[in-house]
């Protein structure tokens, strides 16, 4: 286990491994997202209350789940980077931020589009919505803080602290619908007694969620590659790799 961890944390090894993993994640993501989206839009039955309007769920819920998952992933990587002084972990955290921000934006935007016909408003200062907006600001703040600090090591430490402090917002987003009397409906999938939607509605949703996770795998590894190149630009292996091509 430890040797595996140690080997994985070696930048040239990680860079090569990423190269082989990215196409796998990418193709599995496409193989999940394309049929699941089709099934969600065309094959799943219409909702008895929301009609076909409920189909927004197939892009909204996966992006909202990913927005939280990526944040936890980013904060964990930042913590590993802080505790074990592992530079690669910081590189992973940096790679997560723009992806997480984009999916948080997507969750907010599709939620807003869904809210208009169902709640009669694009936006409300509701607990769930506000906490998700704070999540977007955390991602943007993380990126802004890094951009403002020239020294990579100092940027790593400062942004890791911000990422870790921001973790308190994650359970707030998740439990906001149970803690407060929210306009937003409670979770359909993650609740006691199992999901409360029929399989022909649920399976495309699971497919989309898994697909989005694989998509994150592919895109984040691509961004880590870039980050490793920047950080290791004075090393022999990067120079040899770049000049030999």
């Amino acid at each position: 286990m430890w040797t595996w961890f140690h080997k994985l944390s070696s930048p040239p090894h990680f860079y090569r491994l990423s190269g082989t993993m990215i196409p796998w994640f990418g193709w599995v993501a496409a193989a999940l997202i394309i049929p699941s989206l089709y099934a969600g839009l065309a094959l799943a039955p219409a909702d008895y209350q929301q009609g076909d309007g409920f189909r927004i769920i197939y892009v909204h819920v996966p992006s909202a789940m990913l927005s939280l998952f990526v944040y936890m992933f980013m904060a964990t990587a930042a913590a590993i980077g802080m505790i074990w002084r592992m530079k690669l972990a910081h590189a992973v955290a940096v790679a997560c931020a723009p992806i997480g921000a984009s999916f948080t934006f997507l969750a907010l935007a599709t939620g807003s589009i869904w809210g208009k016909p169902m709640w009669g408003t694009w936006w409300a200062w509701d607990a769930r919505l506000t906490a998700e907006l704070i999540l977007l600001f955390l991602y943007l703040g993380y990126m802004g803080l890094r951009a403002a600090i020239d020294d990579t090591n100092r940027a790593d430490r400062a942004s890791a602290i911000l990422a870790l402090v921001g973790v308190v917002n994650v359970p707030i987003v998740h439990y906001s619908v149970t803690w407060w009397n929210s306009l937003h409906q409670a979770s359909t999938l993650l609740k006691k007694g199992g999901p409360s939607i029929p399989p022909d509605m649920a399976i495309p949703l699971y497919g989309m969620i898994l697909g989005f996770l694989c998509f994150f795998g592919a895109v984040s590894l691509t961004r880590v590659k870039r980050e490793v190149l920047v950080r290791e630009q004075n090393s022999k292996w990067v120079k040899e790799m770049v000049t030999s091509k």
Partner: protein
């Protein structure tokens, strides 16, 4: 189910399709920007190493 019904989405067409369109845009932009970031960095490094005087055997 015919195509017009599919596009109309029971009257929710504008909402459903704009959400789907936005989602696909975010996915595609993520792929494009991430891949371009790697490519730009590799090109920058290539130029940088090319301009450096060779320091013996590296």
């Amino acid at each position: 189910m015919n195509l017009m019904e599919f596009i109309d989405m029971g009257g929710y067409g504008a909402y459903v399709w704009s959400s789907v369109g936005l989602a696909l845009t975010v996915l595609i932009l993520n792929v494009v920007t991430a891949r371009r970031a790697v490519k730009v960095e590799l090109e920058r490094l290539k130029r940088r190493y090319g301009n450096e005087p060779t320091q013996g055997a590296s």
